[in-house]
Amino acid sequence: MIEKALKGEPRYFMWLVFLMGIIGVGVGCWFYQLYKGLGITGMGRDISWGVYIAQFTYLVGVAASAVMIVIPLYLHDYKKYGKVVVFGEFLAIAAVTMCMLFIVVDVGQPQRMLNVLLHPTPNSILFYDMIVLCGYLIINIIVGYNCLLADARKLPHPGWVKPFIYLSIPWAVSIHTVTAFLYAGLPGRHLWLTAVMAPRFLASAFASGPALLVLVLLIISRVSKFDPGRDALQTIAKTICYAMIINLFLVGMEIFTAFYSNIPGHMHPLQYLFVGLHGHGKIVAWMWTAAPFAFIGVLLLLIPSARRHHGILAFACASIFLACWIDKGVALVIGGFIPNPFHRIIEYSATFPEIAITLAIWGIGALILTVLHKVAITVREEEAAT
């Protein structure tokens, strides 16, 4: 079935070549990083995690969001998702792969990474994160591939896949919960030390992941003969809207708790992010970009007439995707390190090699997504033709 990815129009191959170019630059930078050390990034002793781990965190959410298509289809028999679910599962595969690559590039001694298996440490959340991420990747490959294979052969989905589908639902929740626990269990990092971290992660994941899926599906419906179906897109849009509202609500909870209690440690990181602290405010502009996009996105998705217009739907989804990315892919990780344990403010900005490596991994994700979706599109087109 995978051979369907080998035939395509010139623009398909040009897109792949373009992605490989980006990947090539990043891989070069990665070799440089391996040779020189992680000091070539903007990270330092105070901001010891940067854009890599932030992307990892964001993409775990994108991966988990496939469950928002799986639940209505398999638990509530919402048949209109029948044709799009595989696109969600393939998006999850691409996202989990990117997560793993972001860990590889972030680690100081990647050749020793298997020490996590050689010396398993059940008290470390990273140990569980490794298990759930690998498991989620395998589940999605099994489910996505076998269901699409059955579709291609015009057979009913094999029965043995069903348990894996049901397993994928709690598993998706687990990957993002465990990722939230990486942060929420650390003493002395006030921005992260919050019980709503996992719920907030899930809410923003269920907004940003499906938003990306809608964007991808809209592009697919333009460049191919596959039609995801108007109703399917509208239902996903509603999911995005309510998930984003819950996400914003939870952010509000954080702000209330910090500022009404008036505890300096809890207020400082939020002040740094939104208004700047002691004259430092590199993230402030990002936050005030994210905030309007978040609210405009929600508003546009709430109004049915706006939501039904595909141009507006695309804009709303892009807004929410961007707002969530700024929140989790930029602010959350860096904000947690500010101020440092000595209450000093050391700021962070990514360097060129760091950004090139980050783009390369996004490029690898896009490449995997393109190839997998190409296969799925071809199967769907053949179905429609008969």
Binding site: L38, G39, G108, L117, N123, L126, G188, H343
Partner: protein, 267 residues
């Protein structure tokens, strides 16, 4: 028994999964048992009961004595030359084992707006607190950092994968990552040949001089400034540190986090 390809792959896959997961499960049920049994592999090794060791090493730092000229500097110099600590010359990549800061920052969160001028200006020596409940050990995915039975929180540089989870976990900023090869920031002629350097991509920190404790010596900083620093067994009521702590009022950093530090500041 005949087996087709499909069955073979299934069985092989399942056994591989159990093989990978099995070690984790074993570790969960009987922590440490598996590694202990691995140690003996192929090598005759006769373990001997180690000499009497402390139940919990601890340190007191007399901040007033540290205020006398040269005291802090000689402690830091002793530590750095003993442990081949690189000097990258910038705050971003800096590796710190023992360093000084002021009260306001060392005890961040407990600032007193109307502090007496004397304490405000005094230098506070900062180092790893060798916590009783170390968050860095809790989060490390490979047991590269671990708490020894004598209370020292140690680092195994051979095993560290450089994920820096411990740096996010440590509320004291006591851990440093080797962002570059530390040998580039060391003077080869000044190497202490009795102690290794580190390599790029691993985390390091103060080790309470375990290599000196093994030879019944005091930590290098304590030896350099015995008038200001004291070191001993916190579990022994008659030890030097306990006697000092009985007489003087002391402070520890960020007690509210429940980490139970072993470093006491006498003011």
């Amino acid at each position: 028994m005949s087996m087709d390809r499909r069955q073979f792959i299934k069985i092989a896959g399942m056994s591989a999964l159990f093989g990978l997961g099995g070690k984790g499960a074993f570790e969960f049920l009987r922590p440490g048992a598996l590694e202990a049994s691995e140690h003996g592999h192929g090598v005759e090794y006769v373990p001997e009961e180690p000499a009497e060791v402390a139940k919990r090493w601890g340190m007191t730092i007399d901040v007033q004595k540290c205020g006398e000229p040269g005291v802090v500097e000689k402690c830091i110099k002793a530590c750095h030359s003993t442990h081949n600590i690189p000097d990258f010359g910038d705050s971003k990549n800096q590796v710190k084992w023992l360093w000084q800061d002021d009260y306001e920052h060392t005890f961040a969160g407990n600032e007193n707006s109307y502090m007496d001028d004397r304490v405000k200006e005094l230098p506070f020596l900062c180092l790893c607190n060798h916590c009783d409940e170390p968050p860095c050990v809790r989060v490390c995915p490979t047991k590269a950092t671990f708490r020894r039975p004598d209370g020292v929180v140690a680092m195994d540089y051979h095993r560290c994968i450089g994920c820096r989870f411990c740096m996010a976990g440590c509320p004291y900023g006591s851990r440093s990552f080797n962002w570059f090869d530390p040998r580039n920031a060391l003077n080869q002629k000044e190497y202490n040949l009795d102690f290794p350097t580190r390599m790029k991509g691993v985390v390091e920190k103060c080790n309470f001089c375990v290599e000196r404790l093994a030879q019944d010596k005091l930590p290098a900083c304590v030896e350099a400034a015995p008038e200001a620093l004291a070191f001993g067994d916190l579990a022994d009521p008659d030890s030097s540190v306990r006697q000092i702590l009985r007489k003087r009022s002391s402070m520890r950093r960020k007690l509210e986090l429940g980490t139970k530090p072993s470093v006491f500041y006498l003011v």
